[in-house]
């Protein structure tokens, strides 16, 4: 798409700005959930935009949001690698350590639907932030950013089937944590 690809072509920066800046809040939201720290999220988003500008010439539409998110996720993963206290490579198998209660079949053992108490945004954000990776990123991309399984699969570089099972797992964990939340006096 770009005619002139030089770095100092102001028209290119202009096009990038018009295309990418509308997603600044989205990018910041994703970074907040991935990094769980406001300052780190700001740094990651800034780095993401600089990298995205650098690679804008190789960007081929249609959707710029998933493209930005893939870059942002790489930046965040690099940040994790840098952090000394990084949650070390959470895998699908490792996630059982994250929940406080056995999660997977609990709901089936209690067939009558337990209604979820209304929680405010802050409380729900805290529950989401407590999800282990890679379930958290999948969950956030689906529930907060409304991306399709295909788009999520491309961003997290996993098959669609994996996205589906991670999402099912993430929701089960969140629901258990949500129900547990109700029992705590506030």
């Amino acid at each position: 798409m770009p005619v002139n690809a030089s770095d100092d072509d102001p028209g290119r920066a202009w096009r990038f700005r018009d295309a990418a800046l509308p997603y600044l809040d989205d990018a910041y939201t994703l970074a907040r959930y991935l990094l769980r720290d406001a300052n780190d999220a700001e740094d990651a988003v800034q780095e993401c935009y600089l990298r995205a500008l650098k690679h804008f010439d190789s960007y081929r539409g249609p959707a710029i949001k998933p493209w930005l998110f893939a870059i942002l996720r790489n930046v965040c993963n690099a940040e994790f690698a840098r952090r000394a206290n990084a949650p070390t490579g959470a895998t699908d198998d490792a996630a059982d350590h994250a929940g406080q209660t056995p999660l997977w079949h609990e709901a089936q053992e209690t067939p009558e639907t337990q209604m979820l108490r209304r929680l405010d945004a802050t409380a729900i954000r805290r529950l989401v932030a407590a999800l282990a990776e890679p379930f958290r990123e999948t969950f956030v991309l689906r529930e907060i950013h409304n991306l399709s399984y295909r788009e999520i699969a491309d961003i997290v570089e996993a098959p669609v089937g994996t996205v589906m099972s991670r999402l099912a797992r993430a929701r089960a964990m969140l629901r258990s944590a949500w129900l547990a939340q109700e029992e705590q006096p506030t």
């Binding site: 102001p10 920066a13 202009w14 800046l21 209604m115 945004a121 729900i124 529930e143 589906m164 629901r175």
Partner: protein, 254 residues
């Protein structure tokens, strides 16, 4: 289909990701299985609660400024052609940009360049879903928001009684410098009032301009330069400028 399979597939059902054949299979199982029916209802409820909770964050204005400042064109203002190309991206104005091309390209002095940047900033504010950094109809909320963000304190005047509703404020960039924008609305029309410091303290009478189909009204008073830009008709924008200046003289600025 078994409960174990449905336990995962019902999420794809909720998300509308199943093809028709699989969706029917899952629905058939759920219809005959109270446990899975309860599961589906519970997860639907949770998804709804999450969607309605507003879990998005808003990027801090400082982050937006840092990123804007890091983009090349904020260091070297774009050429006229680049500005026009920016315009051309907004489909609604591309036709106007084409007809106005020569008029713009042939003008070269600073004032004209700044005015076209003002229009460009106005356009961006409408396109990017970034009209305001601070949303408030209260002048005493909007004015303090600018504190520390600019080297001037833009006056914020409530003109609601005069038919111009205060919407909020925003930090923008014009001529490679941060500039305060105070946002008003009349009916569905947005007015961006850009305020920047100037060396001259003498009053400059208002001057009306039209660029790319947008009307600009520019005046200067008490060391501040003002540009009001809108798609409002010129006479209504003039009315806005006069009411604003009258309010300033009346000392009702917040």
């Amino acid at each position: 289909m078994t409960c174990d399979e449905v336990e995962i597939l019902l999420h794809a059902l909720i998300d509308g990701e199943l093809d028709a054949g699989h969706a029917r299979e899952v629905e058939d199982h759920i219809a005959g299985c109270p446990a899975c029916t309860a599961e589906l209802a519970a997860y639907r409820q949770m998804s709804k609660a999450i969607a309605g909770a507003g879990l998005h964050y808003t990027a801090p204005p400082a982050l937006r400024r840092r990123i804007e400042a890091a983009l090349p064109q904020t260091k070297t203002p774009p050429s006229r052609r680049a500005v026009l190309r920016g315009f051309a991206m907004g489909s609604a104005v591309s036709a106007l940009a084409a007809t106005g091309l020569f008029a713009i390209v042939l003008r070269n002095d600073d004032a004209e360049r700044i005015e076209s940047e003002i229009v460009s900033a106005h356009l961006r504010s409408l396109q990017a879903g970034h009209l305001t950094d601070v949303i408030s109809t209260d002048q005493h909320t909007v004015k303090p928001w600018f504190n520390g963000k600019l080297d001037v304190a833009p006056p914020v005047v409530d003109l609601t009684a005069q038919g111009f509703t205060l919407i909020g404020g925003r930090l923008d960039y014009v001529d490679a410098r941060p500039i305060g924008a105070i946002v008003y609305k009349r009916r569905a029309h947005v007015i961006n009032l850009f305020v920047a410091q100037t060396a001259s303290t003498e009053r400059r009478a208002a001057k009306a301009e039209s660029i790319q189909g947008f009307n600009i009204r520019h005046w200067g008073e008490q060391g501040l330069n003002y540009w009001a830009v809108s798609d409002l008709a010129a006479d209504e924008l003039a009315e806005f400028g006069e009411k604003f200046e009258a309010a300033m003289r009346g000392g009702t600025a917040g």
